[in-house]
């Protein structure tokens, strides 16, 4: 039955489809393999996926569409909540409704809810057994404050978390999150402060839940002046009953194609000295060399990258503070992206996660244009509907051709006599909207009068006008190439204004 539903969702609307995205691949980052198909229709998105991941069979089928200004998803959906450092991925096999306004964002979801979903660039799926539901609300205030609230129940796991974020211009930013996520306590936060350009102070704490519970704390300062940059940081990790503290000092400069960075990294068990050189030859080629010395052993590594429209490949080295108790480590990342003919692409990348594992993801994608929009295919509409809704579009000078009038879901354009019509299957009244933005006749247009609805057999009259208001002036034209005279800047409160500018208040 489920497979029938998936097939019905995937293939029924193909005749009027537009773009089909096929993806498939394998990953050890989130262990598993699978494939998915996404059909982008004018008024809906159909998604289907099948594969094996996270130790179990995975599947998904969904239909996402707009309903009364809300985004509705029927079927499988992965709801990822990320706010103020809280990251919680819930999978819903059921229904979710998202409604956005300028200030509020509300997501309601219900159905089979779980955390055993599978998410990669090539497949997103959910296979849940527990019933549940929840609500996520975010509120944005005009003075830079954002508040978040997440309440969810899935099986025996409960989530109740609140978050707050505050941004003061570009100078100060603070986030705080606290609560219970899947029955585990959570307390995250961060502060960043830019007292003046180039200087950045930060402090933060973050909890990780997968693949094991870990906590990371960091604090530091960076200062950039022209081509020079220096930084100092303190790091601490706590995982599996092991606490590691570390300090680092870094300095770098950039001159021409060369960027050189040296760093001193120290933990209680080891000291690492590293020098990393990067030569950016041009927008296509980049080379890098890295020399590290730790516990009396010197190592050398080299990398580089090549980027073109078709191929992008990079091999990079960097120093990161791992949360698995190893402290500072030199990690290597490889990425490859190759674009093939017929809108296909293959991608491969390795990632060293903060817990110390180097994992890979490999996948391919293909875009295909299908349905009505196939070049050269005949699109034919039979005479359907006995009820004609028609009208005329005019301005004060007479009929207007190229008027775009939306009746229900159909858009009609007026002919040279200003006449337009559509055929309807039902006698009911239909909503009418005039769309000046898509008029085919030149100029900017405004609606003078237009009815809101239309009934078959009662021709409508739509009145529009051009809104190209060119100001009429009797003054002689001025020479626009001459610079405008501006009054000299006031010297009053000079030091106060300079101080405000340094704080980013100017």
């Amino acid at each position: 039955m489920k497979h029938l539903l998936i097939a019905a969702l995937l293939f029924c609307p193909v005749a009027r489809g537009q773009v089909l995205l096929l993806s498939g691949g394998s990953s050890s980052l989130t262990p598993g393999s699978g494939a998915s198909a996404t059909l982008y229709l004018p008024d809906a998105t159909i998604y289907g996926a099948i594969g094996y991941g996270a130790g179990r069979f995975q599947y998904a089928a969904s239909d996402t569409f707009l309903w009364q200004k809300s985004i509705v998803t029927v079927g499988s959906k992965q709801i990822g909540f990320g706010f103020s450092g809280v990251g919680l991925g819930l999978n819903v096999d059921g229904i979710s409704i998202e409604h956005k306004t300028k200030e509020f964002d509300v997501v309601l979801f219900a159905g089979a809810v779980g955390v055993s979903g599978y998410s990669t660039p090539f497949m997103i799926s959910a296979s849940n057994t527990h019933g549940g539901g929840g609500v996520f609300i975010s509120r944005k205030f005009h003075d830079g404050v954002k508040l978040y609230n997440l309440e969810a129940v899935n099986g025996g796991l409960q989530t109740a978390a609140m978050g707050a974020q505050y941004d003061y211009r570009r100078t100060f930013s603070a986030t705080l999150s606290a609560g219970v996520v899947n029955n585990a306590k959570l307390l995250d936060g961060s502060l960043t402060y830019h007292p003046w350009q180039g200087l950045n102070l930060y402090i933060g704490r973050q909890d990780y839940f997968s693949p094991f519970r870990a906590t990371g704390d960091d604090a530091g300062v960076n200062y950039t002046w022209n081509q020079f940059s220096v930084g100092a940081a303190l790091n601490e990790s706590n995982s599996r009953a092991v606490t590691v503290k570390g300090e680092s000092l870094t300095g770098s400069f950039r001159e021409g194609i060369l960027q050189e960075q040296v760093g001193y990294y120290h933990t209680s068990s080891r000291t690492l000295l590293n020098s990393n050189s990067v030569e950016t030859i041009n927008h296509r080629y980049i080379f890098s060399e890295s020399v590290s010395r730790s516990n009396g052993v010197t190592s050398f590594s080299a990398g580089g990258g090549y980027t073109s429209n078709r191929l992008s490949v990079t091999l990079q080295h960097s120093i990161v503070f791992l949360l698995n108790g190893e402290g500072y480590q030199s990690v290597t990342g490889v990425s490859l992206s190759l674009k093939l003919p017929h809108d296909s692409a293959v991608n491969f990348q390795t990632v060293t996660v903060p817990t110390g594992q180097t994992l890979y993801t490999a996948y391919g994608t293909n875009y295909a244009q299908i349905g009505d929009a196939i070049p050269g295919q005949v699109v034919s509409h039979q005479i359907a509907g006995n009820f004609v809704i028609s009208g005329i579009c005019r301005d004060k000078e007479g009929p207007v051709s190229g008027c775009a009038v939306q009746v229900g879901k159909i858009i009609a354009y007026s002919n040279s006599q200003g006449e337009w019509s559509i055929r309807a299957k039902k006698k009911d009244a239909q909503a009418v909207a005039v769309l000046p933005a898509v008029f085919t006749t030149p100029g900017d247009w405004e609606i003078v009068s237009s009815p809101d609805s239309a009934l078959p057999g009662k021709p409508l009259e739509i009145v529009v006008k051009r809104s190209q208001n060119i100001p009429v002036t009797t003054k002689p034209a001025t020479d626009t190439t001459a610079p405008a005279e501006t009054p000299p800047a006031s010297r009053k409160n000079f030091w106060k204004r300079l101080w405000n500018a340094a704080l980013g208040r100017g």
Partner: protein, 153 residues
Amino acid sequence: MKHSFAILMLILCASGCRAQTVSPIVAEFGKKANGAFQITNNTVQPMVVSLESYSFSLDSKGQHFRKLDATTHVTLSESSARLSPREVHEFNYRITCDVLPCYTTILSGMIVGKTQDGIQVRLILPHSVYTCQKKASKCREQALKEAGLLAKK
């Protein structure tokens, strides 16, 4: 001479490659006309087409359009359409005439571009429908003969 001919062919082909087309341009029917014609958007940009129906008559000076006769009833599947790049769009129609023969043309108007001065260029392509009492295949020939536009054998 050869050089001039090559340039002429190049100009003709170049303009033909991106021209819009209507097919067929003529259709003949008996008492009832249930037909279709296709508009091809040969450009790589969307194009809006709007349709208008006219009656026409023929005389020795050619074809003359007039407002649709009250005795002619035209039903179109769509009065306008937005064609995707390279799309071939088929318009279906049904024409019934209280008085036969009757000659109807459906004009397809479309914006095809702008001149260098910014004046919009509107292309109008006709699809003419000849509806007769008798044989459909001889309808147009008979009309042209009566108008003196067809050389007698």
